[in-house]
């Protein structure tokens, strides 16, 4: 089973997805063309014994195909277990320090509170968190439009929505759109939690990934990752 050390190690990543889909489409297209060309073969007029042979050939082919497909799917399933949220997040050690970022989403804004550092096995509630590093403003909690975290530290995002469903997504760069690093839905009435570890310093765009009304395209912010 694939080992997932960090929450950022989910799946195989976008380049792998592009490559495998392209290969699968090309192979299938090739197979379809091969089957089409087979209809132009001299052997097309099947009769008598040939038909029976064909039938046996077909049944055998389908039997082995079924076993092959089932095998591949079971392997995929086995590979995917460590990526499922509860499994992936369970890999984070209980004594590991976590940087808590609380997010409030609404039509059409992002609001962030830096909840400081805590241990993973503490409660999700920021109030009960053991702050290892003071990071407070005068009124108790730092409220920013931007988030600042360090590369290599595991961040626990806790998102709430004030109104409708939103999607908290962090893109791979500071461009207005780029491939996605991580995302989760922000369902109203729930603490929506996702752990993530940034590898590289830089500024990353945050966008709403769930349509939330006419001004949804303007629901943008950013997160700054500093060198350790």
């Amino acid at each position: 089973m694939g080992e997932v050390n960090l929450a950022s190690d989910l799946g195989f990543g976008t380049p792998w997805l592009v490559e495998t889909l392209t290969v699968a489409i090309l192979l299938t297209t090739g197979f379809i063309i091969y089957v089409i060309l087979s209809t132009r073969s001299n052997k097309i007029r099947l009769s008598g014994l040939d038909q029976a042979k064909y039938r046996l050939y077909k049944y055998h082919a389908e039997r082995y195909w079924a076993i092959f497909v089932a095998g591949i799917l079971i392997w995929f399933w086995y590979l995917g277990i460590p990526w499922m949220p509860s499994m992936a997040f369970d890999n984070i050690s209980e004594n590991q320090t976590i940087h808590v970022i609380k997010i409030t989403a609404g039509q059409w804004f992002w609001e962030f509170e830096d909840g400081g550092y805590t241990y993973k096995n503490n409660s999700n509630s920021i109030e009960q968190a053991q702050l290892l590093q003071e990071n407070k403003s005068s009124n108790g909690l730092k409220v920013n439009k931007e988030i600042h975290v360090k590369a290599g530290e595991t961040v626990k995002f806790i998102a709430n929505s004030e109104d409708v469903n939103h999607g908290f997504g962090i893109l791979a760069s500071s461009k207005s759109m780029d491939s996605i690093l991580m995302q989760m839905q922000v369902v109203p009435g729930y603490d929506n939690v996702f752990y993530y570890t940034f590898d590289k310093p830089g500024t990353y765009t945050i966008r709403c990934l769930e349509y939330c009304g006419w001004l949804h395209p303007y629901m943008i912010s950013e997160i700054t990752i500093h060198a350790t």
Binding site: F31, W65, L73, W77, I180, Q185, C212
Partner: protein, 736 residues
């Protein structure tokens, strides 16, 4: 040999069972309605591309966004319910009767499903004109929280009512199909023809020979009407028996694979509909009681419990048919192929549980749900893989006839397979995190439905319509339709898919600079697809126009009357509940009017006679008179009546060719001024920011009432029944 005789010889379907004319009439009406909605929804797709390309903008940017999201919402729901579900229902009715060798359980229920489905879709369109834009999957509570100046609550209610009617129509369809298959006798017994081995002399024991007609005859004869005990019937129709050892497998009568596909479809959707009703119930309760705090997570899950099966709903009936049609054209007719049946138990189970992968990104969902999501998402690929391989094996080394049906179906297999691959990626949790809510998902759905289900459906239309009306389609136009759909469809679907990989987020009205290059390409492919569908619509309507006559000339008028009175009645009730409350006398009057209008569906379905149509029409005229006298200045009404008549008058010069061009131009000019004057004085408020003298619901309602009156006038004049003359006879008798 005439063109059609050749076509018929090549493509006439078996079994040789004549479907009742009223069912084939209904199927054709479903097809016609679906194509009309398809063109409307396609136009909305083009509009979205234009907006994203900055080629179509209002002065007020918010209104441009509103138009984009209303188009997006109605495009999605119209494509699902108005187009492909409409086709599925209509074609399934025909096929289940044809291959079950029996009439439908209840034809009136089928007619009602047509009327309810259309009524629901028209409500959706009305909501769209009011700029309702919560997205096709209408993620609550966004429905009721549009933000600053978004859509109104009344538009949301109209949209939800549309969904209620659609849900009811789907339930009616499911019940009808399930009851047709499970009640009485049904054609079965095909499993006896299973042959897989050589005989002792090493010769073939195949029953089929190298003559398609003999094969057809054999297969037709093996499907005989018989009564099956319930347990046997269930095992058979869900394809479970195909997994039994041969001894038991061949002992259980098998139904046609077409019936199996349609039955599984109806069963899955019947269960899935509960999800829709839970979502709608939650929405209405929240609307009526602000203190009600539902779990929006559960509501979302409930929606997807319906929302994923509806995707398969667009496919299964056609897939069952593909198992029959492709080997038939490949001249490899295998009367009973266990591999064809083996997919269906898996489809049946996992289609109902696979919805959970839509909740992958919903972290608060319980672990067991995520576990089911992951397992089901991968498990559903297994039967899909079997189906694709089985159908490809039918084509392999065959003497296939590449007619329109087989070409469309093979293309559908390709589209479905490609869509399946991208679905496998998004249905795998570790990968979905990079793809969820990007255009990749839109690419997946366009591959699966536009290039999968729709191509299967089109292929079937190219086969079923000629079988019903005995006129062949224009093959050149058909090929053109196929080529344009393939170029445009795959073009736009692959573009969506790969843009999604690059991070283009779906449902973005404003295309980011990074992807501005893709907009002209998207527009180009969308236009190519659009041209293909216009050619198809022309080919279809032209072919139907050549020969087809409905059993009753006025069936369509009846259906139009039912739909219009249903919409008008529901709208009256909506106006009372939304704006007036139930206390005042006018509100009670309107409520009663609404109930009576809905009741009038009954006389129309049951064909109670002209006296009923007459009173329905007169009553509605009275309602319109009341509306006009309350809402408008009569001078204003008269002015527009006169100008409207003047415009209609200008039809005359077009018909009479001896009118001079000068007069024609004057006429067109005056008409244009009148139309523009109407537009500028009476547009919906959202478009020009001016107050209109009426609200959208009222105008939709009045339009429906006018349509109803027109329909009843036709019925009163044309329908031959004795109800009115009988009354006059009685009156005369009493007078004497």
């Amino acid at each position: 040999m005439s063109k059609f005789e050749f076509y018929e010889k090549e493509e006439s379907p078996i079994p040789k069972y004549e479907v009742k004319k009223e069912i084939s009439d209904l199927t054709i009406l479903f097809i016609i309605a679906s194509i009309i909605y398809f063109l409307i929804a396609g136009s909305l797709a083009l509009l979205m591309r234009l907006i994203q390309s900055n080629a179509f903008i209002f002065v007020n940017p918010d209104q441009t966004l509103g138009l984009f999201y209303a188009s997006l919402t109605i495009h999605g729901q119209l494509m699902f319910f108005g187009f492909i579900s409409m086709l599925t229902v209509g074609i399934s009715y025909y096929l289940v009767s044809k291959f079950g060798k029996k009439p439908l359980f209840n034809i009136n229920l089928a007619i009602l499903s047509f009327c309810f489905l259309n009524s629901g879709v028209i409500f959706l369109i009305i909501a769209g004109t009011m700029f309702f834009g919560a997205g096709w999957y209408n993620l609550m509570p966004l429905t009721f929280h549009s933000g600053n100046d978004g859509w109104s609550i009344s538009s949301a209610v109209i949209f939800l009512v549309g969904d209620v009617l659609i849900g009811i129509a789907l339930v009616m369809f499911c019940i009808n199909i399930i009851a047709t298959v499970l009640s009485g006798k049904i054609a079965a017994g095909i499993q006896k023809t299973e042959q897989t081995k050589l005989d002792e002399n090493n010769n073939s024991t195949e029953i089929h020979e190298d003559s398609i007609n003999k094969e057809d005859k054999k297969r037709d004869e093996s499907l005989t009407l018989q009564y099956l005990p319930p347990s046997v019937r269930w095992i058979s129709v869900l394809g479970i028996s195909s997994w039994f050892p041969k001894k038991y497998r061949t002992a259980i009568p098998a139904m046609s694979i077409v019936v199996v596909g349609i039955f599984v479809n109806a069963m899955v959707q019947f269960v899935g509909n509960f999800g829709l009703f839970i979502q709608l119930f939650t929405g209405f309760t929240y609307l009526l009681n602000p203190d009600f705090q539902p779990s929006w997570l559960f509501t979302k899950d409930a929606w997807w419990f319906f929302g994923h099966p509806i995707v398969y709903f667009t496919l299964f009936s056609f897939l069952g048919a593909a198992y029959y049609y492709i080997p038939r054209y490949a001249r490899k007719i295998i009367s009973y192929d266990k591999w064809a049946y083996r997919s269906w138990p898996f489809y049946f189970v996992f289609t109902m549980t696979v919805f959970t992968h839509h909740a992958f990104m919903d972290m608060p969902n319980p672990d067991w749900l995520k576990f089911i999501a992951q397992t089901s998402s991968l498990a559903i690929i297994f039967p899909s893989g079997l189906t694709i391989m089985t159908i490809m094996m039918y084509i392999f080394r065959s003497k296939i006839s590449w007619n329109l049906t087989s070409l469309f179906m093979l293309s559908g297999i390709a589209g479905w397979a490609f869509g399946g691959y991208s679905g496998t990626q998004t249905g795998w949790w570790g990968q979905d995190v990079y793809l969820h809510n990007t255009l990749n998902i839109v690419g997946h759905i366009h591959l699966t439905i536009l290039m999968g289900s729709v191509l299967f459906a089109m292929g079937l239309i190219y086969s079923i319509i000629p079988s019903i009306i005995k006129v062949a389609f224009n093959k050149t136009l058909g090929i053109l339709h196929l080529l344009l759909t393939l170029i445009g469809g795959f073009g736009i679907a692959f573009l969506f898919t790969y843009l999604g990989f690059a991070g283009f987020i779906r449902r973005e009205a404003i295309a980011p600079d990074e992807f501005a290059w893709s907009m002209p390409l998207m527009l180009f492919f969308a236009i190519i697809v659009g041209i293909g569908q216009i050619i198809f619509a022309y080919n279809l309507f032209n072919t139907l126009n050549k020969k087809y006559k409905f059993l009753s000339k006025h069936n369509t008028i009846f259906y139009v009357a039912i739909i219009s009175t249903a919409i008008a009645g529901i709208s009256h009730i909506l106006i009372v509940s939304l704006f007036m409350g139930f206390e005042s006398k006018p509100s009670i009057f309107l409520l009663l009017s609404g109930i009576i209008q809905i009741f009038w569906i009954l006389p129309l379905v049951k064909r109670w006679g002209r006296i009923w149509y007459l009173f329905g029409g007169l009553g509605t005229i009275f309602l319109i008179y009341l509306f006009i006298s309350v809402q408008f200045d009569m001078k204003f009404v008269l002015f527009f009546l006169v100008t409207g008549l003047a415009q209609i008058f200008w039809i005359v010069p077009y018909l009479k060719s001896n009118w001079s061009r000068k007069r024609l131009y004057i006429g067109i000019g005056i008409s244009s001024i009148l139309i523009l004057s109407w537009l500028f004085t009476n547009p919906p408020e959202k478009i020009f920011g001016l107050d209109a003298p009426y609200d959208d619901i009222s105008m939709s309602l009045e339009i429906m009432q006018v349509i109803f009156i027109a329909s009843t006038i036709v019925l009163v004049i044309k329908e031959k029944d004795d109800s009115i003359s009988h009354i006059f006879q009685k009156l005369r008798h009493r007078a004497r």
